[in-house]
């Protein structure tokens, strides 16, 4: 038997979703989310295992996973900061925040800090425009950002580690 990469928990969670769709392929997005929640990103072996679980060609999983920006096809840091730089955020200083975050973390946008603690990315509109600028910090939104609160947030995460 092939070595399994995904946990029993993954398969149990998926089992519950199976009856929710008339076609197994609809499980692809939920499975990718579930696997990413477990791994933090989606290695090729995991994608292949998902393909086997769903019963489709591995390439089909890959084409779906690569379409959506939230699926990490490369490893990311423990804290993934995604700064929105779209119109509403940009109008309220997102570019300055990005510059600040790059300096503060010592990485360029799109990179991970050498200790694996932070990944910094630019994000398209997060749908929280009335509380701009915003960022996603892993699964949470941090809203009404300014340089102070961004600094404070990063310090807090560093401190909690």
């Amino acid at each position: 038997m092939k070595e399994k990469h995904l946990s029993e928990k993954f398969y149990q969670a998926m089992k519950q979703k199976e009856s929710r769709y008339p076609d197994r392929k609809a499980l692809i997005l939920p499975a990718l989310h579930q696997a990413q929640a477990e791994y933090g990103w989606l290695p090729k072996e995991v994608l292949a295992e998902i393909a086997e679980y769903i019963g489709v060609h591995e390439a089909q999983i890959r084409e779906v996973a690569s379409f959506y920006t939230m699926y990490n096809l490369k490893p990311v840091g423990k804290m993934h900061l995604k700064l929105c730089t779209n119109v509403a955020c940009c109008l309220r200083g997102a570019d300055e925040l990005m510059e600040y975050a790059e300096k503060k973390l010592g990485v360029k946008c799109g990179e991970t800090t050498p200790d694996g603690a932070f990944t910094l990315s630019e994000e398209e509109c997060l749908g929280a425009c009335t509380t701009a600028p915003v960022m996603m910090a892993n699964d949470d939104y941090v809203e009404n950002l300014d340089i102070n609160s961004l600094n404070h947030f990063i310090e807090k995460v560093k401190h909690e580690r």
Binding site: K44, V56, H57, E58, A59, Q60, R62, E63, S66, F67
Partner: protein, 472 residues
Amino acid sequence: MPKCTIDGKEVEFKAGENLVTVAKRVGAEIPVFCYHPGLSVVAQCRMCYVEVEKMPKLQTACSTLAAEGMVVKTQSEAVKKGRAGTMEFLLLNHPLDCPICDKAGECDLQDNSFGHGSEFMRHSEERRTYVDVDMGPVIQKNMNRCIHCTRCIRFGEEVAGIHEMVAIKRGNNIDITTIDGKQLKTEYAGNYSDICPTGSLTLKDFRFKKRAWMLKKTATICEGCSKGCNMEVQQEGNVVYRCVPRENLEINKYWMCDEGRFNYHYVQDPSRIVSPMKRSGDSWLVSPWEELLVNFRTDSAGTGVMLLIGTDLTLEEMKAIQETAKALSPRAAILSFGTPGVESTTQDGPRDQILKMKSKTSNLKGAEMLGIQPLLGAAKSDVVLVFRGGRAELPRIEAKKAYGVGVFLEKERNHFHAILPGLSFLEKEGTVVNHQGKEQSLKRALLPRGKSKAIGEILMLALHQRNGEVTA
């Protein structure tokens, strides 16, 4: 029948026909890239714009079904501008390396650019580039030339039944590819090259061999199995460079398998025997036709003669053998051979979900129609005369004397005492009957090689041979 009007001409259509198809009937050729009649309609390339009365925007002819009373313009100014816009977009990132591209001369991108593009280039940005990808023995991919029509993806999914070609990433960064540089698995990979409207997916077998416009084309039938796929042989200077499928909706639609596509190679294999020869101890000697024909005639006239007819021969050849045998070898047993295990049409059937049949010869049905019984097991007789087109699998032969008449390679000659070289399926005309019972015609694409002769001629000569002299 319902009617619509295209470019001022009234035309009838069947329900469900799109405007690309209906427009052809009034002589309006609508340019397409992504549309292919054998694949689902996606309306992605945006080349086939037409103007439809009462619709504010340009419509794509591929995805617009003709409707009663519809009024369509295929040549209006708006249409021309729309198509020119699409052509400009498609060429933004295309390398324009036509001089070294195998597709040149038969390229939809060239043709549509010629017909619908602008003479000016307004783009000065850097082009998107990718590295070439080897996709296994059949296809080489050059993504730079790709125009994202997705025909290949749809072919894989909808026809070949394997989702191995995919679009990775999105938008301007899309890569259309197999994943991780994997080789294509489908046994129908050659079709990827046929349907690619640019030189993005090229046939390795054909790459850099010949300019497309030099090729002379002959419509014939594949001999690879009992399906009888319609194909076109493309040769120049009596050398075949490529075989491609021809549309036949009742048989192969638009496709053919790789086995059939590349089957032609043996025809021009340097080890093919194209001179009459006979065994002499451990070696083989090229001998005059006359000498071998006399021997052939003498040996075939005796008792204990078995005559084997390959199910890769044409109906005409089979009949000629049957007829001549009455005079030449009246007591001979006449049996057929072709695909071991598929000796009769009842044993024949689909080998996959797509085109391939179990019988690996083209005319099993024809042999049965002529009442030729199959050989089961080995050919045991004093004298065995084997007539073969080139593809029928040789049985085990246990004989004092064995003749091979037809197409053989050097590695096959040790079954025999003498070879009388015949014509391959590309060098002759004739009829084959496919598994459905459809009679189809082989057309001669090549001149005979060396000293080879048609089976009919060989038989006639043998029949009238008396001590080295031909008698009328």
